[in-house]
């Protein structure tokens, strides 16, 4: 019964995009190596990292209905969980990951418990404020680079392998993304996920059934923070660098754009969105240069307008607008 359901989903337009996308990502490093051009592999790694962050945000935003503008905070934590231990001589990836996830969980539990005392607009603003707080905290850590950030002289190693080669990092990132996608896929149809999605659609009704929304929302918030911290861990390894900018609220905004671009309540949408967004960021400067060379560096203006226009026009995002499986299963 479940296999039939799975198969019918894979044949839908969304399913096809999903499979093709994953195959492309799997094949890319080999193509890139054959062409002897590491640029695309690095770009793809970056896309996957953003996708991972967006997938994590989608849990609370797309499925949980909680608009958080503070998500970059957890990416920041993940990034510094690599650089600070390395600064002190700990380059073991397992330990760094553990630090990242535990710190993210702890801070998510604390801030989430406070944020979730409010909803709607206040929630958005408070998540933003907490992220800003973490940003200033990072800036004030002069021992760890402060505003300038901290470089990573040596990437994480995991005993049997290290992330030093770009290929290894690519593979590790791809695996992490696959795992996260699988986790979310199971989560959204799980008993927990159903209640969470119910809360987004009609909190009043769900409370009247006897569920207490707070514990579900806080748990989702913590889960999503942990996954985001892993994205931060990967980002620090990719760029060999961590700085307060990784916690800038504009990054949170970009993640939201990515989710919307891809389609909110879908598992694979954030991956599509990340690809579209980062490719757009790559292409726009060249486009602007072709039309108005003097303003090449101002391509963000076009991006800003595009975001406004997209919001006004698109209701369900590019991937979300494709038809998926029958409404009984979320995909």
């Amino acid at each position: 019964m479940m296999m039939n359901g799975l198969l019918s989903q894979w044949r839908s337009p969304r399913g096809i995009v999903c499979i093709l996308g994953l195959l492309a990502l799997a094949a890319l490093p080999f193509v890139s190596a054959a062409l002897d051009s590491p640029y695309y592999a690095k770009l793809a790694t970056r896309i996957m990292i953003y996708a991972l962050a967006a997938v994590s945000l989608n849990i609370i935003l797309g499925y949980g209905g909680m608009v958080s503008l503070g998500h970059s905070m957890f990416i920041l934590i993940g990034a510094y969980a690599v650089t600070i231990p390395t600064f002190h001589g700990i380059t073991n990836g397992w330990i760094q990951l553990a630090i990242a996830v535990i710190c993210a969980a702890g801070i998510a539990a604390l801030t989430g418990a406070i944020c979730l005392r409010t909803n709607g607009m206040a929630f958005i603003m408070i998540t933003l404020a907490f992220a800003q707080m973490m940003f200033f905290l990072a800036v004030s850590m002069k021992n760890y680079g402060g505003d300038d950030g901290l470089t990573l002289p040596e990437r994480s190693h995991f005993g049997l392998f290290t992330l030093t080669s770009n290929g290894a990092l690519y593979g590790f990132t791809f695996a992490a993304l696959l795992l996260a996608l699988f986790f979310v896929y199971r989560l959204v149809n799980s008993p927990f996920g159903m209640v969470l999605r119910g809360i987004k659609q009609n909190e009043r009704r769900v409370r009247a059934l006897g569920h207490s929304p707070f514990r579900y929302q806080l748990s989702a918030y913590i889960l999503s923070a942990c996954i985001a911290s892993i994205a931060g861990f990967l980002l620090a390894n990719l760029t060999n660098f961590a700085s307060p900018a990784y916690g800038a609220w504009t990054l949170s905004g970009e993640l939201i754009v990515i989710i919307i671009l891809g389609g909110t309540a879908t598992v694979f949408g954030p991956v599509v969105g990340a690809a579209l967004f980062l490719l757009l960021e790559e292409a726009l400067p060249h486009l602007v240069e072709a039309i108005a060379p003097d303003y090449k560096s101002n391509w963000m203006m076009i991006l800003g307008i595009l975001i406004v226009v997209m919001t006004l026009i698109l209701k369900r995002g590019m991937y979300g607008s494709l038809s998926g499986a029958a409404p009984e299963r979320a995909k």
Binding site: M1, M2, F183, R186, L187, N189, S190, P191, F192, G193, M194, V195, R197, G198, Q201, N202, R204, R205, V206, R207, A208, L209, G210, H211, S212, Y216, S219, A265, A326, P327, E328, R329
Partner: protein, 245 residues
């Protein structure tokens, strides 16, 4: 011991007294209808019973337990199930999924992240049973957004039933239904008579007189009469205030 005891309940909104010293009991097994003109305060009373609003005075006892200030989910867990006058459903979910949420509420622990709720036989079977009780089985896998208004009302009842409640609070379950749909719903509620004590708020007088064991009449926030349907029909005050319309 009454299932629900409302004692001297008072609720004011600024200068307006929406609930004026209401005393009302619901006995085990009875269908108790609450009628009254528009604006009498029926929905306000219901929302105080379920906990969406808190009274300014008086108390509410459910199975001898004081629930006057308990939060909504706690009261629901104690067995109070409500259906809404303006349907409150999860629109993106299917009918079955809405009922599954209710079934899940009865379980001690919903913090399972990996298993598929749709594959949990316990949840699905209980939900399918409630869906069958209200006659929605052919539409179980249809998204709520696509269902007709009458089907929404049936689903509201199914959701309430799936909670296996100790009491049903039905806020205008026939509102907006066609003649045929109303008759079906009345038949349904007749079938449930005796299984669940019900507080039924309704405007449809045919349904009220067909179903009710007792009727209370609420006018300007006050209960002006509580009696058997026949006695209410003959009550001069009630006629003056309401049945004349």
């Amino acid at each position: 011991m009454s299932v629900l005891e409302i004692k001297n309940l008072v609720k004011r909104f600024g200068g307006l007294t929406a609930t004026d010293n209401v005393t009302l009991n619901i006995e085990a097994g009875e269908i108790h209808a609450l009628i009254g003109p528009n604006g009498a305060g029926k929905t306000t009373l219901i929302s105080q019973i379920v906990g969406e609003q808190l009274p300014d005075g008086g108390s509410i006892l459910f199975n001898a337990e004081d629930i006057t200030h308990l939060p909504v989910p706690t009261r629901a867990k104690k067995g109070l199930a409500r259906s809404y006058q303006i349907t409150q459903l999860c629109k993106e979910f299917t009918a079955l999924e809405n009922v599954m949420l209710a079934v899940q509420a009865r379980r001690a622990n919903n913090f399972h992240f990996f298993r598929d709720a749709h594959a949990e036989q316990e949840i699905v079977h209980a939900a399918e049973y409630a869906i069958a009780q209200v006659g929605l089985t052919p539409r179980a896998h249809t998204a709520v957004a696509v269902l007709a208004h009458g089907e929404h009302r049936q689903l509201e009842l199914a959701v309430a039933l799936a909670l296996k409640p100790k009491m049903l609070l039905l806020d205008e379950p026939l509102a907006g239904m066609s003649q045929g749909e109303s008759e079906e719903m009345v038949a349904l509620l007749q079938n449930l008579r005796g299984q669940y004590p019900m507080l039924l708020v309704e405007h449809d007088m045919d349904a009220v007189f067909a179903l009710a064991d007792r009727i209370s009449v609420l006018v300007y926030g006050r209960v002006i009469a509580t009696d058997t349907p026949q006695a209410i029909r003959d009550n001069a005050d009630v006629k003056a205030a309401y049945l004349g319309h």
